[in-house]
Symmetry: C2
Subunit: 501 residues, 2 copies
């Protein structure tokens, strides 16, 4: 029997994906293992493989298979139909960018990264501004190549989260902001003191053993995955070989744990995608926001909750025998759920984190709408920081220059983080409604029912549905910020605003 056009498409996509996955391994190795003086060699390897990957992704045979499937040889069933549509989208986005543009962008990314590092270390925005300007221009150009010159920011959002538009995000973030800003003010006004900073001298070997136990209990499959150490925690690879990283600090045992649980949430998504469709749209994640919802749900709704700690607190105390002598369970729970206003996003908690994202979205939105210019950013940043967080960063290094993302032209990416929080909360209440007694199982150390539900409801579909469609399908409702606000009020109200219980 001759190969059907759909089978041919799948074979070609899988082939390209295998090359991409080899690239992933080299990138993982760069963060985890690479000797310092081997970086030049690694850069050469990455660029050679990226070129080969790009060539495989743009293979004209993929275009021919797609054309056949869009013509006489219709795909069979809705799943295949969706897969063909997603593959078409990916193929267009890969093939429409001219090689010179891709090369110029790669060169700019590298220059802008180094300029950003210099600018940040000297708190000197002027060093970075020209490169940022060029990145904004190139993002506009990119949108133009894809045929969306008139709505560049819509293109950038959709690129990370299929189906999302600027209008969606503006509405969602506007609503959230209105409710969240006064809530944070209320919490901060209470002045409840966390003892988190007192957690010092926690053996790294014991932290490592404890978090591995937790991650295994949550259901991460170490038969096809591993955990290592990297400066910035991440999850790399796919369901065939899923690699998490965390980082350790003797004087901060909670960061390593929650980083590991967060990355394990990403890993559980990858491992939950149908392996038989690996490398094709039916075996790939929907986008960044859904991905982030999986990491946040495990990190926040699950692992910062009382039932989780009811199960793990004894083991945590045992792992660090002498360290938690004078600590009550409530002390520990408060340390896990410490809220404080910080200028730096990655040091913030799950409540105020969302404000950091709203700030960045507001800037990106205005920038691409032409309402502000690149040179206005420091002032706009500080103004928004005052409005949202009630503080102005001490300098631009901990303000407008704090994040690496813009140096790589990753506009439209930040919103995924906050959208992920919203989706996590919305999925959480859907799970609680469908799975009665769920949290009682957590308290017994059993997380299998939630994992199975997520796998069935979210992971199993791969990229078949876009972000909105999937949320509607699983929760029966449109994406909305109310679930996140409800969750934050329940969890943090009970700790910080006990009168509101």
């Amino acid at each position: 029997m001759p190969e059907s056009p759909y089978d041919r498409l799948v074979r070609l996509l899988k082939r390209a994906d295998v090359i991409g996955s080899a690239l992933d391994v080299l990138q993982w190795d760069e963060q985890v293992n690479l000797p310092p003086a081997s970086q030049v060699r690694r850069a050469d390897q990455l660029s050679a493989l990226a070129e080969l990957h790009h060539r495989a992704v743009c293979d004209p045979a993929i275009g021919e298979a797609l054309a056949a499937l869009e013509g006489d040889s219709r795909p069979e069933g809705d799943a295949q139909k969706a897969a063909v549509a997603r593959a078409r989208r990916d193929y267009e986005r890969a093939t429409r960018l001219p090689a010179e543009f891709v090369a110029a962008k790669a060169a700019l990314d590298s220059q802008a990264f180094h300029a950003w590092k210099r600018a940040k270390s000297h708190s000197d925005y002027s060093v970075f501004a020209p490169f940022l300007s060029r990145q904004v221009d190139m993002s506009r150009e990119e949108a133009g190549f894809i045929g969306q010159a008139d709505r560049p920011y819509d293109y950038l959002l959709d690129k990370h989260d299929p189906g999302l538009t600027e209008a969606d995000v503006a509405r969602l973030f506007g609503d959230l902001r209105q409710q969240l800003v006064p809530f944070v003010k209320e919490i901060v006004a209470r002045g409840v003191k966390s003892r988190r900073a007192e957690l010092k001298g926690f053996s790294i070997a014991a932290q490592d053993a404890f978090l591995r136990g937790v991650v295994a209990k949550l259901g991460f499959d170490f038969e096809r995955g591993r955990i290592d150490v990297a400066v910035h925690p991440f999850c790399s690879g796919d369901g065939a070989d899923t690699r998490l990283t965390t980082r350790f600090d003797e004087d901060d045992p909670l960061t390593s744990l929650f980083a590991a649980v967060h990355e394990a949430g990403h890993g559980l998504y990858e491992q939950g995608l149908p392996l038989e469709h690996l490398g094709t749209p039916l075996g790939k994640p929907v986008g960044m926001a859904i991905h982030e919802s999986q990491s946040r749900l495990w990190e926040n709704q699950v692992a910062r909750g009382r039932p989780f700690w009811a199960h793990f607190e004894p083991g945590f105390r045992q792992s660090f025998s002498s360290r938690l002598g004078g600590w009550s369970s409530e002390d520990l729970y408060l340390a896990v759920n410490t809220v404080s206003l910080e200028p730096i996003r990655i040091k913030s908690d799950e409540v105020t984190y969302n404000l950091h994202i709203i700030l960045r979205f507001e800037i990106e939105r205005r920038l691409f709408a032409g309402e502000i210019a690149v040179e206005d950013l420091p002032e706009v940043w500080n103004g928004l920081s005052q409005e949202l967080l009630g503080l102005i960063p001490a300098n631009h290094g901990v303000g407008v220059l704090q994040d690496v993302h813009w140096s790589g032209g990753a506009f439209g990416y930040f919103p995924s983080y906050c959208l992920g929080n919203m989706i996590a909360a919305q999925l959480w209440y859907a799970a609680l409604a469908t799975l009665p007694g769920l949290e009682a199982e957590f308290a017994r150390g059993d997380f299998s029912r939630l994992r199975g539900w997520l796998r069935r409801e979210v992971h199993a579909h791969g990229r078949r549905y876009d972000t909105h469609e999937l949320i509607r399908k699983v929760t029966g409702a449109d994406l909305a910020p109310d679930h996140l606000m409800r969750y934050l009020k329940e969890r943090y109200g009970s700790i910080y605003l006990p009168a509101t219980r």
Copy 2:
């Protein structure tokens, strides 16, 4: 200025080499990090990259550049001339094998590997014989494609060690055998008892720390290299990123140490090759025998010697405080230099090891000369084992089936190990003659002069000279077994046959 044909050749060779080096990283990762259930994915990645690498190596543009350099655009100077000749050889060998042959060989390698594993675990040669037969046939075919159908074993030897012929090896091994067999008999007859088996309960963390210290002292550059753990120790990568592995056993601290030093010897060669020529014939190792000479020289001549232990013994004792209480320095030195007749090559010592290789060469030689058939191997093996080692293996699993090499059709490879020992000894005496006071420096923990000499005399030339040429150039004499015999008699005579001192 337009790119010269030589520069073009170099650029193309480097590009192919970069892809090959990415493949190396994935292979290293497979041995060191790969989760067990991720092997299928890794096989797909390796095969995709191998195909891309092969395509780059066979790029017709390389053939064009070579043709230009062999025609009107002569290379400049002898080094370039040699590089072009080596590149031509590599290009011919890569391009003359038809794709169907390469694919059939890869499939056979995999089948034969699994058959060998089954055969070994059941000590049943008949399971492996048909695959071995096919490998012999394919090696003959391969020699035919390269135009050496009439001398297949010469081709196979030269493939691993440029310049070597069957006649060379037969003469060298014949001479060595004549001197070595009676010497081993004499040693064994003395019945000197080593206490090596008493070394038990050595902390792995302390072993690891100690061997890292040793490897650093020998001059391995950890800025562009690392050491990890793997089941079978190896050295992977190149001078830009050199990765050693060792293995640990609490009850055998010397194996981890000598494996690390051995692999560090390979690593020092890679790191000593001129980095500016990385990926071209002037930046590559000559062949397996020269490579092995580097590992053996550091492992045996240096690290099994009295000056080395004069320096490291105090640290070794300190690392394992309570473990060496009743041990004299001579006890330790004898443990490091234990000689015993074993059926298994990888468990043998540096004296009897050579007999294991002579055995394999003798079999390969007769097999390709048509003097024996694949089905005769068990009998021939046992007969040679009796002649050379004075023992017959208890079963074929520890006899003819003990090594993996033949399952991959790696004929002509084993001789490199013994040739490496010969070359190491020949280089060693050349170094001692040129560098007076060398061993006194070792006793002070200074290995820099030997390392510098090897780098200058051996490493700096890359593949400019073939095996024989390089040995002649460095030592002023043809490769001969006398140096190895002299070294073995000096070292082991002084321990086992004190009357002969």
